[in-house]
Amino acid sequence: MSYIIKGQTGDWEVVIGLEVHAQVTTKAKLFSGAPTDFGAGPNTQVSFIDAGMPGMLPVLNAFAVEQAVKTGLGLKAKINRRSVFARKNYFYADLPQGYQISQYDQPIVGEGTIILDMPEGSRNIGIERLHLEQDAGKLVHDMHATKSFVDLNRAGVALMEIVSKPDLRSPEEAGAYLRKLRAILRYLGTCDGNMEEGSMRCDANVSVRPVGSTELRTRCEIKNVNSVRFVMMAIDHEAKRHVEVYESGGAIQQETRLYDSARNETRSMRSKEMAHDYRYFPDPDLLPVELDEAFVADLEKNLPELPDDKKARFQKAYGLTAYDADVLVSEKENALYFEDVAKGRDPKQAANWVISNLFGVLNKQGVGILESPVSAKNLGRLIDLIADSTISGRQAKEAFEAMVESGKDTDTIIAEKGLKQITDTGPIEAAIDQIMAANADKVEQYRSGKEQLMGWFVGQVMKATQGKANPALCGDLLKKKLAQ
């Protein structure tokens, strides 16, 4: 189901490259000792370095470097053993030094790959580079009639800019790329991936071309879109706009555009279009970052299992379908939960419970697995009780719903609801005898060949035992008695 825009002149495809700014998980900023916590009072997380005071100098945070390298390794990318910080010079009220310390022609991480699992098969999306840079401050425009307010708490926070190659061909792929990248970052613990708090932000470069063409046409950059869904909508809108412009004989200007989610449209940011000339040059306050081989090797050795590997393992070790494995590994915590449930149990049944039942509940409640009302231990216990025939599947569902509702543990719910299945032959045989005596005509019909009445008999037994009779046992006993 490739993404094709049907134009009047023919079919068009979209070419997308994404630039993701991911806040590096660190306690302190990239070049200062000020904290990075979200939501603090204005300018309370600012050092004299972050405020660009005279004579202040940057000193690089070693852990930020480690996190960037780890991320590079997670993206199967080339780690550049020597990288250089450069100054990107421009004036803006959120940029206290008058330049952003970034990396330009010598980034810390080079080319890598992200594998996307799309319905039509897997797709390899190239990573162009990853570099470290400082975040800017925040501007508040609605606090005063004639003034903008400047908060430098974010100024100097460590960001990784992760740039994809223009390999994405649909809004869906762009969405899958962002979700996959986010999963990898979260598995690595290098970024929390929280788009609402701005710790992951995305710029999309979009162009279109006639299907079959390999040219790269003029692209527009859509800035700072703050959710995966909006990125997809913005791309879709922008691609269609390009097609319309081309088909009406116009030309696309290379420019930066802003996505307005309320109106689902992009518009030109003319105010920012003033001739940019960033005058990059190596930051003379810093020396090149040199990584020794052992440092990189050590990080590589201690890399956690990442989504792709985990998925493969889930398929192989647990016999899960690609789809189920993919769903389970999308969040590190989900995979952990599943493995807790699956431990010592039938993995397919565990997967089924987690995906079909639990995720449905979590989605409805709008919470993550860490806030799940049913713990992995309790779900596991529930599955155990099905396995040893203490309860039936139907009873299990009933119990699960009650557990979701009350948050109580499995055994308490089973006891409270009296959900134990009857596996004793005595009471079941008594019920059968009673039913056979009261329905001699049906017994006669069965015995003369109308075997489809078996279902009716089972139903009667269930009714008589309030549904607690073990259905399999019930069938066996009925068969035996009716045959006599």
């Binding site: 005071m53 004579g55 000193v59 009220a93 030094q97 003379p284």
Partner: protein
Amino acid sequence: MSELTSLTIAEARSRLKRKEFSALELTEAHLSAMERARHLNAYITETADLARERAKESDKRLAAGEGRPMEGIPLGIKDLFCTEGVQTTAASRILEGFSPPYESTVSQKLRDAGTVMLGKLNLDEFAMGSANITSAFGPVKNPWTPQGRKAELVPGGSSGGSAAATAAHLCMGATGTDTGGSIRQPASFCGLVGVKPTYGRCSRWGVVAFASSLDQAGPITRNVRDAAIMLKAMCGYDAKDSTSANLAVPDFEAVLGQGVKGLRIGIPKEYRPDGLNAEVNALWNQGIDWLEKAGATIVDISLPHTQYALPTYYIVAPAEASSNLARYDGVRFGLRVPGKSLDDMYAKTRATGFGAEVKRRIMIGTYVLSAGYYDAYYVKAQKVRALIMRDFNEAFEKVDAILTPTAPSAAFGINDKIDTITMYLNDVFTVPASLAGIPGASVPAGYTTEGLPLGLQVLTKRWDEETLFRVCQSLEDAAGFKGLGPL
């Protein structure tokens, strides 16, 4: 009390320890000298009360026998070093009234060594200049005057206030900073010792930046021993400066008596261009002679890229400065001139706050970094800089130190009309060492026929300030230079 202001740091140090006078008396003597010499315009800010307070604290320590290495020594601090709670201007209108809530590492180290800050010394605006005539607080006058004519002379720059104050006994020594010669050239113009250590010896933290890859702090004093004492207190590793060297600080004073016997001294032919000032040339020959007589071996060397150092410097330094000075935008500190938009406010603030020379260098720096010119100018300059470094590396395989003149002339007149490039040429002998990051010092060695001081420059390889001080001491011993007395 003028006798007290005549002392060297070394003398004052031992006499304070012997309690022949108090630190407060020593400070008071300098404070009154400062008052009498305000016409020199050496200080931008005098901190008399603070100085008395610190001197009293020194006296307590001295009384308790807990004096630190420079306890009670009154110094001037170039107004490029941020000093906590004391106005720091970089001699620019754009920073007028700026009161840093922090203390630069170097001035903190000097405080920790027991020194007493007398005030903040005038300089060229943002240390950009060679005559101390670009200060927003007015030019500094050289206390030396020519014999036989009436003229007010420049003290050199950019550490002109530091040099004038030290020469006129308005402090016992002063901090300077040197980006292309800003310690050495004013030292030469004022008959003083000025030392620019190896790049990375002194922390740049808290020093208002001009050109980050070149800026280095150092002392300006009246003799070599004082410079050794002061430099030891100023330098050392600082984790707050990524370019600071994590190396032990040698005891520079300990090597002063060792002489130059057996040292090989290089004489670079490129420093003797056609038309070199005859008096400068003669003094250089005299210096060579002194060192040879003291047992050194003189070796002719070549530093082939010398002539390209100055144009290289005028790409590198303005490029870095254009970026370093972007933070002066009127938002967080310093001058703000209102504008109808943010950009208008920036442009008006910076047009009003910066002087002509600073603007000139920002413009050059912006130009050489701008799209389409970066490779042709900036990258080219960085390559030539590498060649200049290589020249020195090769030379130091053959010699232990290099002797050159410090400046192409003695101090000139404040009112002399000098075009920009001729002004830049003042640093022709000092800039190569700045680009290479090697240590350099100027020692007063003689006089012009008008009785104005002239200095000779000594250069050594990186981290070898010990050899530098040995050669300087030997020159000082031979020259028998007499500085100015108290005014």
